[in-house]
């Protein structure tokens, strides 16, 4: 069995809790996620297309890793492979776990992903239900998480009755509920308006500070990457390869204003943009059918 499908299996022994204690940080050593030489080719009517090629990436436990890249660089494909939702054409992915069972992952998707037929609380409990947790226990875990994301009052509302920002908070709570070995986030704030996005970024920073969660976060926003990440992986345009990695030096705990007023922010932004800029250009040319 290869690593990607192993990662998709869920350990029945996993005991989800709302947030991991801040003290567990020292137990984290070595790579939590290991992506080894992963390529993915899609067969299309007009021939095979390399979405990503020879990706090597290892993420330590408790690390917040952000992938940025131009549209269509295969960021989402990589995330789906780590999540076990897609298979690598070559290469392997493995996620290690502390509980000794099979590793768990949880994904926060871009846009609409809450089940419209479940209340917010039932949505948050969903993963726990799949894992076979008893009704009363998963209800209490879900209530605690809804409290964490400030949605206690809306526990019995349906997704369509609340705002987009509330829905995305709920999606984050749903992913945290299963206490995943790695939290995968695919442009979770991409469809939100600017102010809501800032608020959710701030909340995610707080949650991360107390949970010590390992995160793999995909975005096209350089700003978001700098605010949230410990480490930024810049991908090239199609086929997606890792072009550069940047260590983010801002101390934690962080706030949005701290990060933005840090004198290193602007040069880092410029550096990342410098790398991305060429890629956005090549991506355009490739899409238009030119080959450099």
């Amino acid at each position: 069995m290869d690593g990607a499908s192993a990662a998709a299996k869920i350990s029945p022994a996993a005991t989800p809790v709302s947030v991991r204690g801040a003290t567990t940080g020292q137990a984290h050593h070595g790579a939590r996620v290991k992506v080894s030489d992963v390529s993915r080719t899609f067969e299309t009517a007009s021939g095979p297309i390399d979405a990503i090629r020879e990706i090597d990436l290892s993420i330590n436990a408790g690390q917040f890793c952000v992938i940025v890249g131009p549209s269509g660089c295969g960021k989402t494909t990589l995330l789906r492979i780590v999540a076990g939702l897609d298979q690598a054409t070559t290469g392997s992915v493995s996620v290690s776990t502390l509980n000794g069972g099979v590793a768990t992952n949880a994904m926060v998707f871009q846009g609409q992903s809450l089940f419209p037929w479940l209340t917010l609380q039932q949505n948050v409990s969903y993963g726990l239900k799949i894992h076979g947790m008893s009704r009363s226990r998963r209800a209490s875990v879900a209530r605690e998480l809804l409290h964490t994301v400030g949605l206690s009052r809306f526990a019995s509302a349906y997704p369509r009755q609340v705002s987009e920002g509330m829905r995305q908070r709920t999606a984050i709570a749903r992913a945290l509920a299963v206490k995943p070995d790695v939290l995968l986030m695919d442009e979770p704030f991409g469809s939100l308006d600017e102010q809501t996005r800032l608020i959710l970024q701030e909340e995610l920073l707080k949650i991360w500070d107390t949970s010590g969660q390992t995160v793999l976060f995909v975005t096209h926003s350089i700003d978001e990457a700098l605010v949230l990440g410990d480490r930024i992986v810049i991908m090239s345009a199609q086929p997606g390869r890792i072009k550069r990695e940047i260590f983010v030096p801002f101390p934690r705990p962080r706030t949005l204003t701290d990060v933005r007023s840090n004198p290193v922010f602007a040069p880092l932004f410029a550096e990342i943009w410098g790398v991305l800029r060429e890629e956005v250009g090549t991506g355009r040319l490739n899409q238009a059918g030119f080959s450099p």
């Binding site: 076990g84 998707f109 089940f115 419209p116 037929w117 479940l118 239900k129 995968l184």
Partner: protein, 256 residues
């Protein structure tokens, strides 16, 4: 205030059409412009209605027909939903069975009545089977369409949490397809009423269809008309009941 006025106008218009129709009919019958032996005045039906309520024949026949529709509905809808969800989730099963289902669906439902009578005789079971068959394919095709229409992101979410085929069936396919399933059930209710009345015409000793047919045969035209009206009311009430069940089953879909 304008909303209230609008409501009043709506209400008036809703009731206007049947009232106008009945008034014209009443006038034509009383002036004998139409033959009152075949087109009895609506007001003269009241006595007939009272009579068949008193002798119990109305409610007995209504109960029998409702029982057949209900039993047939359950017999047809439950397997149709189960198979429809399976076909929606697993494409090989869908591709294998779809042409067959689509072809049989196109057969007029009354055309299968003789076949079912041959297979199941003229007892009650045959009536259940006829109703069941008349709605089965309709509900099946609507269920399949409902599952296919579920956004793939919901299946991704379920899979990312490790949901197996069984969980996928109960937690994604069924709730996601429910609105479409209810569309199928509502359409099926109309079909069920048609075939049960038709079947009772030719192969039953009782039921509202039999009541209409018998009345026609002995030229008890007034009774026949009451039977027709009652059939219409039955259809209306069954639809209301289904709407109520739908509201309870899909609380998240209000207003859609």
């Amino acid at each position: 205030m304008t909303i209230q006025r609008r409501r009043i106008i709506e209400l008036a218009l809703t009731f206007a059409a049947p009232v106008v129709l009945l008034a014209i009919w009443e006038t034509l019958a009383r002036t004998e412009t139409i033959d009152p032996r075949f087109w009895p005045a609506p007001s003269s039906l009241i006595d007939t209605t009272a009579e068949i309520i008193r002798d119990g024949s109305l409610f007995r026949n209504v109960r029998v027909s409702l029982g057949r529709i209900l039993a047939g509905f359950l017999l047809g809808a439950i397997p149709a939903i189960g198979l429809g969800l399976t076909m929606g989730l697993f494409w090989p099963i869908r591709v294998f069975l779809m042409p067959l289902a689509a072809a049989i669906y196109a057969v007029p439902k009354l055309a299968i009545v003789p076949l079912v009578l041959i297979a199941f005789g003229t007892g009650e079971v045959a009536k259940y089977v006829i109703v069941a068959l008349s709605i089965f394919f309709l509900v099946l095709l609507n269920t399949v369409a409902g599952v296919i229409a579920i956004e793939s992101s919901f299946r991704d979410v379920a899979r990312s949490f490790g949901a197996g085929p069984l969980s996928m069936f109960w937690t994604v396919a069924l709730p996601g397809a429910l609105p479409s399933i209810f569309t199928g059930l509502r359409l099926g209710m109309g079909f069920a009423l048609v075939v049960i009345v038709g079947t009772e015409f030719i192969a039953a000793r009782d039921g509202i269809g039999r009541f209409i047919w018998d009345s026609y045969q002995i030229l008890a035209i007034k009774k026949m008309f009451v039977g027709l009206i009652v059939t219409g009311l039955m259809g209306w009430l069954l639809t209301l009941a289904l709407d109520l069940i739908e509201r309870l089953a899909i609380p998240w879909n209000h207003g859609h």
